[in-house]
Symmetry: C2
Subunit: 337 residues, 2 copies
């Protein structure tokens, strides 16, 4: 029984079935938990930045623009990614390439400009601005899911160099892809097996368990719950789950958008304040095409702070090593503001 809340144990993520190694002694390693300093040396406007207002000639196009807030002409914009991973000029054919399989790089890759100001990060957004950002995610999601060649739409935000971003102006991204990655498909199968066994959604059951256990919850409102997952892969990983069962992010209503935007901004602010502006990724996981009616899938947001580097063992073995206990991270995050 010793290992249940031990800081030296393995825990299994019940959805992905991945094992995570928890080892608090690794916290003392040299360089571990190094955080970047808060940098606020950026200008409000950068004449060389294609995302700053007035520099529209550097943009390939503007796909969507949300109304401005107070004195701004616009609040958020969606534009084509200048370095697209996937594009609508690709074709959808799958081909045998001798021993291998390949296919065209069909899809869409957009950048969302999160704020007109070059140096305005999420913790400093007006609430209306954050709401406009969620609204833009939603609107682009609906539009891209209308393309029958697309089977999955991923909305994500990379903040900081360690999180893989290459541009400083606050932005998010959307990738609409033509095939479902193996890891996503396996999670779907796993959730379906659970549904066949238990007759219920594994995400709903997990959420009800978190509400009962309490110790991993960070925040709650009437529509959403945020918590550090039992088998968090990295320190301060957070999941946001809608309380209403639905597989489809596109089905979110106006009230839920408002509650989501205030919860997401609050969580990013807590990370920002407690971890000294850490690099992070967040990603909206929604259903893959033909799965929207499934009773066993549930959309959610995953926030992944990038304060540690994945090394060779984690890259190659499929294990993760986390020096922090989820309950301790949750306690800290629920107490800071």
């Amino acid at each position: 029984m010793a290992q249940k809340n031990s800081v030296h144990c393995l825990r299994q993520d019940p959805i992905s079935k991945e094992w995570v190694i928890f080892s608090s002694v690794r916290k003392s390693r040299p360089h571990a938990h190094k955080t970047a300093p808060i940098e606020n040396t950026l200008p409000r406007y950068d004449p060389a930045c294609p995302f700053c207002p007035g520099n529209e000639k550097m943009l390939p196009a503007i796909l969507h623009e949300s109304p401005g807030i107070s004195d701004q002409q616009w609040s958020t914009r969606s534009v084509p990614n200048r370095y697209p991973a996937l594009s609508s000029s690709g074709n959808l054919n799958r081909e045998k390439n001798g021993f291998y399989l390949c296919m065209g790089a069909y899809g869409h890759h957009e950048v969302i400009i999160d704020h007109p100001r070059h140096n305005k990060e999420i913790p400093y957004f007006d609430p209306e601005q954050m709401h406009s950002l969620i609204d833009t995610y939603h609107s682009r999601y609906i539009t891209l899911m209308e393309d029958p060649g697309v089977v999955m739409v991923s909305i994500f935000r990379n903040h900081g160099l360690r999180a893989g971003t290459s541009l400083l102006h606050p932005h998010s991204q959307i990738v609409a892809s033509p095939t479902v990655p193996r890891s996503i498909r396996l999670q779907e199968i796993r959730a379906e097996e659970y549904f066949d066994d238990m007759g219920s959604c594994i995400y709903c059951d997990l959420m009800h368990n978190e509400i009962e256990v309490v110790s991993r919850i960070v925040t709650q409102n009437s529509s959403f719950i945020s918590f550090v997952p039992y088998a968090a892969k990295v320190p301060y990983e957070i999941w946001i789950l809608p309380k209403r069962h639905t597989a489809d992010f596109g089905s979110i209503n106006e009230f839920e958008k408002k509650e989501l935007s205030s919860m997401l901004q609050d969580l990013i602010s807590r990370l920002h304040n407690h971890l000294n502006d850490p690099d992070y990724n967040y990603l909206i996981h929604s259903y893959t095409r033909f799965k929207s009616e499934e009773p066993h899938l549930h959309w959610y947001i995953q926030i992944i702070p990038r304060i540690l580097t994945r090394a060779g063992f984690e890259m190659g073995s499929g294990f993760f090593i986390n020096p922090d206990l989820p309950e301790e991270n949750a306690k800290i995050l629920s107490n800071v503001s």
Copy 2:
């Protein structure tokens, strides 16, 4: 047919079934392909480094020591990791933790000191030194696999900060773990399915295909082949496969050890010279316990240069985005020395 060798396509790894997005336009992104400068400012000896000869009092123990070469007292050593992810004081019990599953952090975590000199990296090793390193990997592998509580032994090397290392003295690591990660188990199942379909080892068939196609081969000798995989996840990823079919790294013979050490050193030198001393991981993938006699598994080494950062999309979706075509990387690597 256009996409077969297109720089804008998706390719599937036939073993993991993961899709990789190839998009050469992403090469032009700001910050992409930034490489670290070659730093050779380290001293030969650091009085504060526990791995330097003479500082043995800072080591918890010495588990293995190989005979010295020329004037050195020893060539390589294996010592306990001071910040172990797993330890033999953990227990092996699995337990239900309410909704979840957990287990003790049983296992072993060792550091291999690759060279007595603080500033001596693999490209500058004597051939005898590199042979001693492979020999130490082999000897520790055999010893750790003798522990019946261990089901998998991972040997890996993290070079550079981006690869997750925290100590400068050249070193490798070994983790002996008590359970098999889901991703490894799925690859085993996939290889077994292939064997049931085709009656042959998927790795052997893949290797024969590479020998026939030629364009992705980097180097060859009588025992091993090295190539950039068809669906390489990152630029300049390299796999080394033994030509002799065996699932077990432990079964390597004296001649193969010699050929492996010269091939691995040569490949690391090529990466070092061409990419300006890039950060990298390499990992020896061998069989998991009870699978040594399987005709469908095959041990191999994976080298993963860390010149790009995995961003939110890749972290969360299971897709990889690679800006480089494997055939181009292989051509460059086979021509440099």
